[in-house]
Amino acid sequence: MAEVSLKNVSKAFGKTQAVSDISMTIEDGAFVVLLGPTGVGKTTTLRLISGLEKLDAGSIHIGGRDVGIETPAQRDVAMVFQQYSLYPHMSVRDNLAFPLRSPILKTPEDVIAQKVQKIAEVLQIPHKLDNKATELSGGEMQRVSIGRALVRDPAIYLMDEPLSSLDAKLRADLRVELKRIHADLGSTLLYVTHDQIEAMTMATHIGVLEEGRLVQYGTPKDIYENPSSIYVASRLGLPRINILPSTLFPGSHKGPSIGLRPENIRQGDGIAATVLRSEHLGDQTRLHLEVEGHAITTLTDPHQDYAAHETIKISPQNPLYFDASGARVV
């Protein structure tokens, strides 16, 4: 395990600037999630670290060593791709053992057997070890491909949306599992996703990307509570943060736009809002409101019922302010 640091890393494909001037340090033992929508540069960043893409500018250090000219194999990283890539003619056991049998690692067979067994147990697939890879369900295949990275003891694990092809239940299970594995192994992990739940629940640190740039880096709590811009604020939180003109609410304001998380709208006094509809999700009820043509979403008690077109009073709590460019005003 090792610290990985990026300094002013950039990469363009033709005219498209995929990654621009990213600097960050992934501390030894951290679980860092890069978050952003499709096409924002997450996967390219991962591929630059692994050596699958060449840097245009900047440098990457793994365990203090500049890896700029090293091949992927020399960098000692283990990568898990979005689409599982297993050897179909091999058993699960041989698929898991394969990386350990590489000529660079030359692991003794008894150590391999031990490691494969341990990882199979962690991933809850020991009974499948002698199955052919093609005889597995999609979820099992993805667990094997994660396992194939985990049997190794690399400087860093790089994971590219490994859970996105799984169904919701299995994804929830594996989220907890991955976090547990990370804690048990004390490994350094860089994980790329567009799923905010994965980012919030697993990460020790989140890096939010916008158009190839790293716009904020911090703990999930930090990013949720102290976003640096409207863009970042909109990445975390479901339902999404309400961005409204400050003038909608009385009083003095620190900026032209106000950001209100759904849970930070108090009902009872304040300005008038029309109820459009309530959505009962079971554990919470979402209330869709309208104030002077602006849509607002807030949360209310699960058993509270408002009729459509009813008027209620709302007031902001702990508002976040943003300037005209979308940057946070503190």
């Binding site: 919030m200 949720y224 459009l276 999700l281």
Partner: protein, 364 residues
Amino acid sequence: MAQIVIKNLKKQFGDFTAVRESSFTIEDGEFFMLLGPSGCGKTTTLRMIAGLELPTSGEIYLDGEEIAQRAPSQRDIAFVFQMFALYPHMNVYNNLAYPLKSQGMPRAQIRAKIDEVAGILGITDILKKPVGGLSGGDRQRVALGRAIVREPKAFMMDEPLGALDAEFREHMAEELRALHDRMGATTVYVTHDQLEAMQMGDKIVVMNNAVVEQFGTPQEIYDKPATMFVADFIGSPSMNFLKFHGKVSPGESEIAMHANSFAVPQSREPFEGDMAFGVRPEHIQLRDEAPFRAEVLASEYLGTSQIVTLNTAAGEVKARIGAQQVAKTGETVGLAFNPGTVTLFDRQSGRALKSELNEGVLHG
């Protein structure tokens, strides 16, 4: 506008029973969800209402008229498939006009109708564009428009948002629901996504293995599940089942489980045997002094709340608690359960035991 009544509807494909004697009523103007895992019979049910499959037995009433064996064209129901099914060589206007032309509607009337529908859907600006260059959202609006122009009695939709990514799906779900609120047309919607069903539906039918497990409003199904399947399928994380062997008698409002006693809604039926104590994650509190002990295995931060996974004598449990509360992995804590919300199940059959909480909802 229409009421749809389903009575003892059954469908067999050879030896395989796809739908087993289902009965429920879809009221006029309702947004009605058929929810369940793949293979549960929900799509077959929808196709029978639309007339794309003929039932083996049973009746379907559309506004009082029995239509179960009629051809789809004689039912006045519009089926919205995966929404991207448009004629690629035609522009938006002609895609919308097509169903009306084939009905033989005069040209001026078609124009007026399309103008009206385009206004409702907010696609007036793109009527002259070829459908090939449209964004995903616009393509969906056009596909929807093609169903709306016919003014059918009811709409059938089969996982129309299934193929979309999470963020866009959320947006389209809201738009679809808002559109329904404006038009008020009876809509039957098939999905396997419980959140989508809860979010959009006025009523939900939960199906599993060709059987209707429960039928009710979203909140009712969430709070008062009729079976362990429903309790598990609805909600994320799903309901916790603490497993134990126990006994309950009518009139009792306490239950002994793993050497502790817990308050529960007053029982309405006797039971003894393998039971499950069903409690939703948000109805579990972590209290230092509570006698029922648990070890914290993991916690997941979610902004306002966190999900804590705990190990107890009755199995693994997930609790949803405030994000500010501290729950350290490895620590031992006490658990308390919100007594009014607990459902007890017969673990063998998966059936909920009757109590003051659910007696109005459970049938049979």
